[in-house]
């Protein structure tokens, strides 16, 4: 499955200029006032109704992947996170990826290109946990359940986080601020 072609079909009619301004206006967060969409609408010179309709459409088309609170996982007690990578045969990678994606402690799971000879791994997932022991025990359990024991793999625990801003939309470059560090 080529991700690029999938993306292009799903995009359909591209986001228009007002969508772009709307996405830029809310990228740092929604105003904490009773009618936040009215406040955004006023800033954009459109009606509140139009903002609501556009956001609903952007959610439905998947441009807005999720809308709600974005947690700082470290501050919630999820102090341990590991990126786990496997060197999976290309023809088996999709089935293995789907198997890994079924565990509730997995937050992300992707296939990415190898960079031989220095980087042989192509299947990635992220495991978050409150402690390293919890992450490792979940990793072992998952590896057994998906029959991955015999594939070359590596566990890369994070040591420090320098930025956690999420995906940003850089239309308002000059006013952009680093919201978290």
């Amino acid at each position: 499955m080529s991700d690029l072609s999938e993306t292009q079909t799903l995009t359909g009619p591209a986001v228009d200029e007002i969508d772009r301004r709307l996405l830029a206006a809310i990228q740092h967060g929604l105003p904490l006032v009773p009618r936040p969409y009215a406040e955004i609408a006023a800033g954009l010179g459109v009606s509140e109704e139009e903002v609501v309709a556009r956001l609903a459409r952007l959610k439905q088309s998947g441009v807005v992947r999720r809308f709600g609170v974005v947690v700082r996982h470290h501050e919630l007690g999820y102090g341990a996170n590991a990126m786990v990578v496997w060197d999976a045969p290309d023809d088996q990678a999709p089935a293995l990826g789907r198997c890994l994606a079924g565990f509730d402690f997995i937050t992300l799971c992707y296939r990415r290109p190898r960079r031989l000879p220095t980087w042989r791994y192509n299947l990635y997932c992220m495991i978050h946990g409150k402690t390293r022991e919890e992450v490792l025990s979940n990793f072992e359990w998952m590896m057994n359940r998906c029959n991955l024991q015999n594939l070359p793999h590596a566990v890369l625990f994070s040591r420090r986080r320098f930025k956690q801003c999420g995906a940003r939309y850089h239309t308002e470059k000059k006013t952009d601020h680093v919201a978290s560090g």
Binding site: D3, L30, P36, V70, Y78, S158, F162, G166, H170
Partner: protein, 156 residues
């Protein structure tokens, strides 16, 4: 590793707010009132608690998570082997790029892993080239080829 102090400052209502609102927030004229009703709170109470959770740092943001590719932009993961003695210098350079969304030091020879989010797909290669020139290090571009799961939800 012990639980940070901030986490224990969340009471049961805060936890419910975080858990429920990670899934979604209404897009309607009075979204806070609507979300508050579902949580058994008043609109004012919900707004006040969200303000506090943001101020305390339990929440990074309250708003949208975008799908960069569907906006015509691009996302990639990049890995660099940074000599230990050079790490601080390189981190300073890399984090100076506004396209770097997050950056982690990990325990491996490839010890720096960062995500680039750019407005246009062509920008990814340009930024990687700029980072290579600025740091003198090879940056490995590891774009996703297939997505199996994106959850990124945390039980508070």
């Amino acid at each position: 590793m012990s639980r940070p102090a901030e986490a224990s400052a969340l009471d049961a209502t805060d936890r419910r707010i975080v858990n429920v609102l990670q899934g979604g927030f209404p897009v309607s004229e009075h979204p806070y009132a609507e979300a508050a009703a579902g949580l058994g709170l008043t609109e004012d109470e919900l707004i006040a608690r969200l303000k506090r959770l943001l101020a305390d740092g339990a929440l990074t943001r309250f708003g949208p998570m975008y799908h960069a590719e569907r906006m015509g932009g691009a996302f990639t993961l990049a890995a660099v082997k940074v000599p230990a003695e050079d790490f601080e210098r390189v981190v300073g350079i890399v984090n100076g790029f506004s396209e770097v969304a997050h950056n982690y030091q990990r325990e491996h020879a490839f010890n720096m892993w960062f995500v680039l989010a750019t407005e246009r797909p062509e920008r990814v290669g340009e930024v990687i080239g700029d980072i290579e020139r600025a740091t003198g290090l090879k940056v490995h571009n590891l774009p996703k080829l297939e997505e199996f799961y994106v959850g990124l939800r945390f039980e508070a």
